[in-house]
Amino acid sequence: MLTERRLNILVLALLLAVPLWAWIANEPFTITLATRAVIFAIAGVGLNLALGTGGLVSLGHAAFFGIGGYAMGILASHAQAYTAIFEWPVMLEGTKSMPIIWLVAILASALAALAIGALSLRTSGVYFIMITLAFGQMFYYFMISWPAYGGEDGLSIYVRNGFPGLNTLDPIQFFGLTFVILLLVLGLVTRLRASAFGLALGAARQNEARLRAVGIDPYRLYLLAFTLSGAITGLSGALFADLNRFVSPTMFSWHTSGEIIVFIILGGVGRLMGPVIGAALYVMLEHLLGGVSDYWQIYFGAILLAVVLFARGGLIGLLVGREVAHD
């Protein structure tokens, strides 16, 4: 019998096997597609912590994805131009080191998520969705109107940033790096969901008043979940920018937020591997349907509609049933 645990292992094995096969078959484009799926999966796992576990439907996670991307873009562009980001009060130079870029991306997106969450979590339901969307769009238009970092044209980075001991320009090595990060993020989220914090977050989604009656403030829980979620999405943004060696305001667009939500819905809301399956399927369909028609989104929309109508627990729900501990 196919259990969720077995399915999770199978999906991860497939996600690893496909690029390994492509590496042996000398198909670097397929490796890049798999890397793209893994990076999107990280973004989805991040949002799923807020949306799936906490029930926070954020339409502004593109802001954190974009912040992560621009953290990479700004640091790397200054490093490649040998210019300082600023010289006063202390000189701050750019860097081509991935670990430093990731740290900055995580911190910057976590700070943004903390600020956006602190304001938007005072509302709920449709108002929360609209406020997060508004924040995301504010960042989008801000980046368009900021010529120092390319404005609407974005920023190009000529050489992928470095990671100690790896040749990140080699597609399979960069894939391996992103895959390990995905595993680490999945491990972190698994632990968080099983912790008192994660359980209380799931309880808050079910009934806030009941949670207050046992001494827990749902607002603080939501804020922490939103901040962690934003930080993970920011990290994926930095990886995405490194994959493409390009960042643009599109990363902040509400379309990006919508896409991340789509990964989650496709795979299964609240399921650990839901966004991973959703992102892999999305990238695969984008590639396959994109080869058939420029208007592939029409077909994709029909598939999404079918999943929402007939597989309400997402693809995981369809394969192993809807019943989960946090559903």
């Binding site: 009941r210 046992v214 403030d217």
Partner: protein, 229 residues
């Protein structure tokens, strides 16, 4: 000093006044039965104590501290544990997860709760929504105990349960009183069972506390007059 003291409390739901003048006190280690017919304000009084509803008039003191402006989660942290009417467990979480989610430091932990209700140990990994009504009630009590309260409030804890389960719950309440010295405010319609645990009673009528005294002094005449039994 009383652990909990309500003086001339009034409360509203929007424009409708639900409580007009409620006064009661619970001493440390005491079990108080809050009684009255349906719709007299018992559950509203509980909401005010737990700060799920703010009182507009009067004062609520818990351990000498004025609870005005204190939010519900802080009232719970101060030591007020609520077992709400209708059980209301977190249905999507397992028994064990329900307990862990509410846990705070103190003598009550998962093992202590399972010792009080051995059935919960058998159902540890089962979803709360799939438990029987009695088991859900045990879980709701266990969850409140996991917050390590100083005052436990049981709002209609045995309502709608099978007689055997009711006996089990009452036995647990009696054990809590005997072994822990916990202050308990209990709302229930069963005079016979209340007589086994309650030290004192307070009767509400139309949002006003109309009688209070030792439970033994609640004569059949008074019970018929205020409670219709």
């Amino acid at each position: 000093m009383s652990l909990l003291r309500l003086d001339h409390v009034s409360a509203f739901y929007g424009a409708s006044q639900a409580l007009f003048d409620v006064s009661l006190a619970i001493e440390p280690g005491e079990v108080l039965a809050l009684m009255g017919r349906n719709g007299m304000g018992k559950s509203t009084t509980v909401k005010v104590i737990c700060r799920l509803l703010r009182n507009r008039g009067g004062t609520v003191l818990f351990d000498g501290a004025d609870m005005a402006g204190v939010p519900a989660h802080k009232a719970a942290r101060a030591g007020i544990g609520l077992v709400p009417e209708g059980r209301r467990c977190f249905g999507g979480l397992t028994v064990s997860e329900n307990l862990v989610a509410a846990a705070r430091k103190g003598p009550w932990d998962g093992a202590a709760v399972e010792a009080l209700f051995p059935r919960l140990a058998e159902r540890r990994g089962q979803k709360a929504a799939s438990l029987s009504g009695g088991e859900q009630q045990m879980l709701a009590i266990g969850r409140a105990l996991m917050t390590n309260p100083r005052l436990l409030i049981l709002d209609e804890a045995t309502e709608g349960l099978a007689p055997v389960i009711r006996q089990e719950i009452w036995a647990a309440i009696a054990r809590l009183k005997r072994e822990t010295g916990l202050s308990i405010l209990v709302i229930d319609k069963s005079l016979a069972e209340l007589a086994g645990v309650a030290d004192r009673a307070c009767v509400l009528e139309k949002g006003v506390s109309v009688w209070s005294g030792g439970f033994g002094s609640l004569t059949p005449t008074l019970a018929e007059r205020f409670l219709g039994v």
